[in-house]
């Protein structure tokens, strides 16, 4: 039972990070009908920039408590990633609007390679440790342990996601985004500046990605130029699981995927009589995805997806 609660907690932490990244994918998909393959790289840049800022501050002898340092790092990383998201949209997507569907996919992949290489140029090929500024005190919950940091991560994720949902539902910008995702042409006729809205979507998604990147880096205590790939893939899986284009779905899909993954990793040994170990953790995400798509092709909360190939 302890394992069960422990894995649920781990899954919640992992899942809320997935959810935050999945929102970035799903927002872009909802508006443009495209997979933003470079989103994982935005997450990676968020982590890297924060680490650089925190290291620079500690090296400069700035005497602030750890969380404040990380917050400053994050506040630098967020605008940096927003700019990155803006540039990605301008370079890789805007010129190709209306072109065949695979063309933006290839530019996004190309850009993804470029961003990884730029990260190598700046930060090198090795894993970069997160500076030891945060304490890793643990709390016991029903015999399972969770670090305070992880509690903060989950709470922050939930707050940010709630904020985003409120923004999309209540504000003018949110209404314009919803209108654009339903029908860009008509939204344009109603006085919505579609280009601005699309840019805003990328920028917002990138800001969430930056925060998620910081969380990944603090949770695992390291960052790497290639880290965006796998986490981006999982987060995209989460978005599809929840029903791509649906914000609530992305949140639900992310958290569900995180929990399934950690439960799977915790129990696969018992289930298969020791034949398969926890190193198969990554398989669960994809297995779940395939099963969901076979039995409920539009995702858990999704509507019918446009069938363009």
């Amino acid at each position: 039972m302890d394992i069960f609660i422990q894995q649920i907690l781990n899954g919640l932490v992992l899942g809320s990070i997935y959810a935050l990244i999945a929102l970035g994918y799903t927002m872009v998909y909802g508006i443009m009908g495209l997979i933003n393959f470079a989103h994982g790289e935005v997450v990676m840049f968020g982590a890297m920039v924060t680490i650089s800022v925190v290291s620079a501050l500690t090296n400069a002898g700035v005497n602030l408590p750890g969380p404040a340092l990380v917050l400053i790092g994050m506040l630098v990383a967020i605008p940096a990633c927003m700019l990155l998201g803006f540039v990605i949209e301008r370079v890789a997507y805007r010129p190709l609007r209306g072109a065949q569907r695979l063309a933006p996919l290839i530019t996004a992949i190309g850009l993804s390679i470029v961003l990884q290489q730029v990260a190598i140029l700046i930060w090198g090929r090795n894993y970069i440790p997160f500076p030891q500024v945060l304490n890793h005190d643990t709390i016991d919950i029903f015999g399972a342990t969770i670090t305070k940091l992880q509690v903060v991560i989950v709470v922050m994720c939930l707050v940010i996601m709630a904020g985003l949902l409120v923004m999309v539902e209540k504000t003018k910008l949110g209404r314009a985004m919803r209108a654009t995702s339903q029908n860009p042409t008509v939204a344009g006729l109603m006085g919505v500046n579609v280009n601005t809205i699309i840019s805003a979507t990328f920028v917002l998604g990138s800001a969430l990605g930056a925060v998620a990147g910081v969380m990944v880096a603090t949770n695992y205590d390291q960052a790497h130029y290639y880290m965006g790939f796998m986490i981006g893939l999982k987060a995209f899986t989460a978005a599809v699981l929840g029903g791509i284009g649906n914000l609530g779905g992305a949140v639900a899909g992310g958290i569900l995927l995180g929990i399934i993954e950690s439960l799977g990793a915790g129990y696969i040994g018992q289930l298969t009589g020791g034949f398969l170990g926890s190193n198969y953790q990554d398989i669960f995400a994809f297995m779940v995805l395939i099963l969901v798509l076979i039995f409920r092709p539009s995702g858990l909360l999704g509507e019918k997806v446009a069938d363009r190939a």
Binding site: Q100, I106, T185, A309
Partner: protein, 360 residues
């Protein structure tokens, strides 16, 4: 068609056949054997790209896990012709077996995803590719099947009619190292794959794929069995992937899960899109360019920096990938329809452009 055109065609055919036959000597003589090796790889990628082109280009099913079939072919050969299990079956058993396994996996993947389209299909195939790779990476315990991340080495080279392609031979006073021998083997198989793709494209099946790509409901109303035609696309695409995988295994003498990452799947897709989706000549061009270009960059960047700057500013490997990524982006922005688009696609682009012009 006039006689003059006919004889011109024959002339071009003979000239290119001769060019292909002497290519390794020209490349090897001027640039060294490492470049012949790169040409060999280009041929392997041509086979792979043509296989994927059946699925993506002809049938319009976006597959991001194609490398899994390559992996299945490669591991089948590696397991059956290496000291790993002590089996040393000849290539005329292992390569067809690998191809059949790959086709089987193609159907295995194809069956559950029959109803999926577009991006959902892309992500499921991507997941499938990752699952295969994760299994290869981890199936070394408790029963060692794939030897895990270390991979399998000392794989037997191919023996054709008593000739070991893994050791140099002398023929008419010419010394032929293995890379030359494999070149000719790959060339023959590539030609077979090209002919297969060509014949398929202009057959009843090929037209059915186009119909499926354009409009599944209309195609089904015209009496096309959607399920069978989709599975056939997956199986035939996987088949050529499996053949290429077996060849890769024998050629390289070593396989590990690292060679079958998602990036490879994406590279093959990029070859098709950059070359011109659905057009066989375009796909071949795309595969050759994307295999050779990074290697040229590798050779050029280091020395160029030394000459102009006097020191290494950027690590050549880094600069190479950077330029490669930029080139991919630039190419798509300038020519989204690819270098050599098929006539049909060209027309589609023209229509889309005209429609966009009318709208805006």
């Amino acid at each position: 068609m006039t006689k003059a055109q006919d004889s011109k065609k024959v002339g071009v055919f003979i000239a290119s056949a001769i060019a292909l036959c002497v290519l390794p000597f020209i490349v090897g003589g001027s640039l060294g054997n490492s470049w012949v090796r790169i040409v060999d790889f280009a041929l392997l990628y041509v086979m792979l790209a043509l296989g994927l082109n059946i699925v993506v280009g002809f049938a319009g099913l976006l597959d991001l896990g194609f490398i899994a079939f390559y992996a299945v072919g490669a591991y089948t050969y590696a397991l059956l012709s290496s000291p790993h299990f002590g089996l040393h079956l000849p290539f005329y058993i292992t390569i067809p077996l690998g191809a059949l396994f790959a086709a089987f996996f193609g159907i295995l993947l194809g069956t559950p995803v029959l109803r999926l389209k577009g991006d959902y299909l892309a992500i499921v195939t991507l997941g499938f590719g990752e699952i295969i790779r994760i299994f290869m990476n981890n199936l070394n315990a408790p029963v060692n099947i794939t030897n895990g991340p270390q991979g399998i080495n000392l794989i037997d080279p191919i023996h054709v009619a008593g000739v070991d392609l893994g050791t140099p031979i002398s023929l008419f006073g010419l010394n032929l190292p293995p890379v030359y021998l494999y070149y000719y083997l790959f060339l023959v198989l590539t030609v077979i794959v090209v002919i297969m793709a060509w014949r398929l494209q202009h057959s009843r099946i090929g037209r059915a794929w186009v119909a499926l790509r354009e409009d599944q409901i209309a195609a089904s109303a015209m009496g096309i069995n959607i399920r069978n035609i989709k599975l056939l696309a997956f199986a035939l695409g996987a088949l050529s992937g499996g053949v290429a995988g077996g060849l890769f295994s024998a050629f390289q003498g070593f396989v590990s899960p690292e060679s079958f990452s998602l990036l490879e799947s994406i590279m093959i897709l990029a070859m098709i899109v950059l070359g011109g989706m659905g057009n066989i000549a375009g796909v071949i061009l795309g595969a050759v360019v994307l295999t050779i270009a990074p290697e040229i960059l590798r050779d050029v960047i280091g020395p160029l920096q030394m000459k102009t700057m006097g020191r290494m500013l950027i690590d050549p490997e880094n600069a190479r990938m950077l330029l490669f990524g930029l080139a991919m982006v630039a190419m798509m922005l300038v020519r989204p329809e690819g270098m050599l688009p098929s006539k049909r696609r060209k027309a589609e682009f023209r229509d889309a452009k005209a429609a966009a012009a009318q709208k805006g």
